[in-house]
Amino acid sequence: MKKKQKKFIKKKSFFFKDYPDPEINFDNIQHKSVKVSLNRTTFLFFIFFSLIFIFSIKIIYLSFFTEKNVFSKKSNYDFVKKRADIIDRNGIILARSIDVYSAGVRSKLVQDKKKLLINLKLIFPELDANKIREKLNSNNFFYIKKRLTEDEKTKLWLIGNKAIVFEKKQFRIYPQQNLLSHILGQIDDNNNGISGLEKFFDSDLKNKKMIESPLQLSLDSNLQFLIREELINAKKDFNQIGSAAFLMDINSGQVLSSISLPDYDLNKRILIDKDIYTNKITKGVYELGSVFKTFTLAAGLENKKIKSSTIFKNLESKIYCAGRKISEHDDLPKDLSAEQILIRSSNIGAVRIAQKVGIQKYKDFLNSLELFQKINFDLEEIGTPLPFRWGKCKLATASFGHGITTTPLQLAKAYAILSNGGYRIEPTILKGNSLELKKQIISSETSRTINSALRKVVANKEGTANFANIKGYEVGGKTGTALKSVNGIYTDKKLNTFISVFPTSKPKYILLVMLDEPKPAPQYVYEFPNGYKHKGEMRNTSGWNAVVVAGKIIEKIGPILAINSLQASK
């Protein structure tokens, strides 16, 4: 009966619907009609509702974690740094490892080449469509672009073509680009440092325990930038082939800035193999010239052979040693005091002082300043001064800095020791790594005398470094003009150095400026401290270029240093 009721629709007969009776169909259980079980339905929907309920709870739960700007914050849940950051003394990032993606194409998976080409061309208008078409036909796999920006990656992703594959790789970026190229160095593709700090501190930077704490340098990238700008500007005036500058705290030995030009962009990862890219401060070994006269004077003072007022009479205008001529660069008076020998940079005078000190004592003095051995410094690229034998003539030429080599870094270190009261320091590039002033190797008396002599080099009218006499900073310093030797033969090309200490009454900073092969600058208008202007100068000794540049640098960085040291003393 029930069966008949259900066998349905088409039958046009009329009947009243009865209460359904499930018990009716006993005879053939196989043909029973199906009844929807309300219990089961309730159970089913109870489960459905609970599931939806759980999911809604999840949404509410998630939304309670309202983080502002989740998107701008890098979600680095799967980012494991392979190399620690490097930051400068103010916390500015100098080097950081990030994930970068390269996009490649699996040609076989491409279905619509034309469409893919159009899409790629839309994202990268600079791509050569013909080349890509060629590659699509010939190569199984090729890269579209390496090192995608986040934006480019998203755009490529949004094409949604599975032929485009992304490769993730950790990459080192240097946000300051050229600014510290010689200091930071580079790493290879396998995360190994190959030059600079990256190599010297390779194991520290890779140390998993310390990977989250960045390596903090003593360098100040603001100062670095300003000084580098001045060096670059100087090229317009003096057309030097290279230049370098070095700024160091005289008491702690912390290096604030170290520049060597030309430099290169670390991010471009080009092969650096030309000599011109040498780090001139640490790796370059040079004859530095007259800057050595300060050591000669100090050796005389320290050994009590002379006083700064000791007068040297009847100085020749030229002398010969082993057949080589030693002469003055300028017409100088016949009688000069020891101090004036330094101020006016008299070669013959320096020779006389050195002779008075004697070979052994002179040698010991220079060695105590550690000028001729390889220096311990936090970089991979360190130059070793050329070995030589002391003799009478060596003593003579060494007294004014010829025939004797060292690195600018060691020169700066020696000057720092002379000026800071005679305490031994060790230059360092790491913040918080400075030696305590402990060992005094030169008397404070000598130090004071040297400082006042250096001040006079800049301040006195007959001094060689008048252009660096920046008002308010009490700059003292010494010029050095050396002739470059190529294969042992001296040329007329010059290497000019100016090393300055300021403020001389209580020295805090040492600044070294070095210009490689500066040219005479007749077009340049020199402005003397007394307001006199001079143009058409044909000389290219240190006083006419390196000093000018140093003066400009001090003028720029002086206020920053003054503020910094004020803050430090508070």
Binding site: S33, V36, L38, F45, I52, F55, L62, L158
Partner: protein, 381 residues
């Protein structure tokens, strides 16, 4: 304009008197909400990606919503005997379309799910197969009484198997899961022997794993998806991570309309991640509201199921509402990363012509079967 008084025996008036208006308005509300969201979620991609006018997608969506509403009312107005008569031919045609997909289908972003016939706009046959399949299963199980009861279940199972095989081939995991789950729900509710059901479940699961094991090329991606789901670091979680971020970003009350970023970051955000987009712009509470609307609809329909006496109507309604609930469940699950990533639209709300039309068919049939005069045309006339 209309006269809905009892004296009026016109079709529309009768329909208006008998239709469950609460369910009807819930559906309309959902459609309109979808339209509103597509306004904010699609306008920016269009101008950037397709270089078309800003409201291109919105206008398309608008047209589809209008069409869907007409379809919904059209279906709900029909007499049930007509629907049952038309069911088999329609079902066969839709399965034929599904068959056509691997042959002449269009591949979009790695999946071949669409077909592009010249006379029709590009569409996804599965969206039409789904509601027809549910009704078909209910019809076979309940109405074909001459047949042996196990054969009836077997027929419904074979049709499921056929469709799922075609789906896995596309590949479309989400829809396969949806259909299987809805079928199980129906079979369960129809009072099928639990022991046999469990045995069958174990057997088919083992077949599934054997397939994955022996055909890693064809089925390996399933395993990969599940692997990425359980180990977020292993694979590519771009979309789900972004969707999670979006929900977090939105908070309880949202960032404000048009302020979301997800829609620009994730492809197909306006279809597969619409809940995340809504959550980002309008807040989690709004999503909750939408969920409640869905639950309300199912509550009303269940009410009908409990008072209805016709088994065919009951089972069909259970099937259709399972379909809606499970689809919503999958969509939200994928959006909140409680389920592995799969492209699943949210019925009524997601953008897309096929999805909207499919939802309209489901809604139309539900409305039709929940009418007060629902059993009239089934039993007599």
């Amino acid at each position: 304009m209309f006269n809905f008084s009892r004296e009026n025996t016109g079709t529309i008036a009768k329909w208006w008197r008998n239709v469950d208006r609460q369910i009807l308005f819930s559906f309309i509300l959902l459609f309109l909400l979808g339209l509103f969201f597509s306004f904010s979620s699609t306008s920016s991609i269009v101008s950037e990606k397709l270089n078309k006018e800003t409201y291109f997608f919105f206008i398309k969506h608008f047209v589809f919503v209008l069409a869907s509403l007409f379809l919904l009312i059209f279906i709900s107005i029909q007499r049930k005997d007509k629907i049952i008569k038309l069911l088999i031919p329609l079902f066969v045609v839709s399965i034929l379309f599904l068959f056509l997909v691997p042959l002449i289908g269009v591949e979009v972003k790695g999946s071949k799910r669409w077909i592009d016939l010249i006379v029709l706009p590009r569409f996804q046959p599965i969206e039409f197969v789904k509601p027809l399949f549910i009704i078909f299963v209910a019809k076979v199980i309940i109405l074909d009484e001459k047949m042996n009861i196990y054969n009836r279940y077997l027929i419904s199972f074979f049709s499921l198997f056929l469709i799922v095989a075609l789906l896995i081939n596309q590949p479309d995991l989400g829809q396969s899961f949806l259909l299987i789950a809805s079928w199980i729900a129906m079979v369960f509710a129809s009072g099928f022997n639990m022991i046999i059901l469990i045995i069958l479940g174990v057997v088919s699961l083992s077949i599934f794993f054997i397939l994955i094991y022996f055909f890693p090329l064809k089925f390996g991606y399933i395993f990969f998806r599940i692997q990425t789901f359980f180990n977020p670091k292993a694979g590519d979680n771009f979309q789900s991570q972004k969707a999670l971020d979006a929900i977090k970003q939105g908070g309880l009350t949202g960032q404000g309309m048009g302020e979301g970023i997800l829609k620009d970051r994730v492809p197909e955000a306006h279809t597969d991640y619409i809940v995340a987009v809504i959550s980002e712009e309008f807040g989690a509470l709004f999503v909750l509201f939408i969920v409640i609307v869905f639950l309300f609809i199912s509550y009303r329909v269940l009410n009908k199921v409990f008072t209805e006496e016709d088994e065919f109507l009951k089972l069909t309604l259970i099937g259709l509402i399972s379909l809606l609930i499970i689809q919503t469940f999958i969509h939200i699950g994928v959006n909140t990363r409680l389920l592995p990533t799969t492209g699943m639209t949210l019925p009524f709300l997601s953008y897309g012509g096929s999805s909207l039309t499919g939802s309209a068919i489901v809604a139309g049939v539900i409305l039709n079967f929940t009418r007060k005069d629902s059993s009239r045309y089934l039993t007599n006339e």
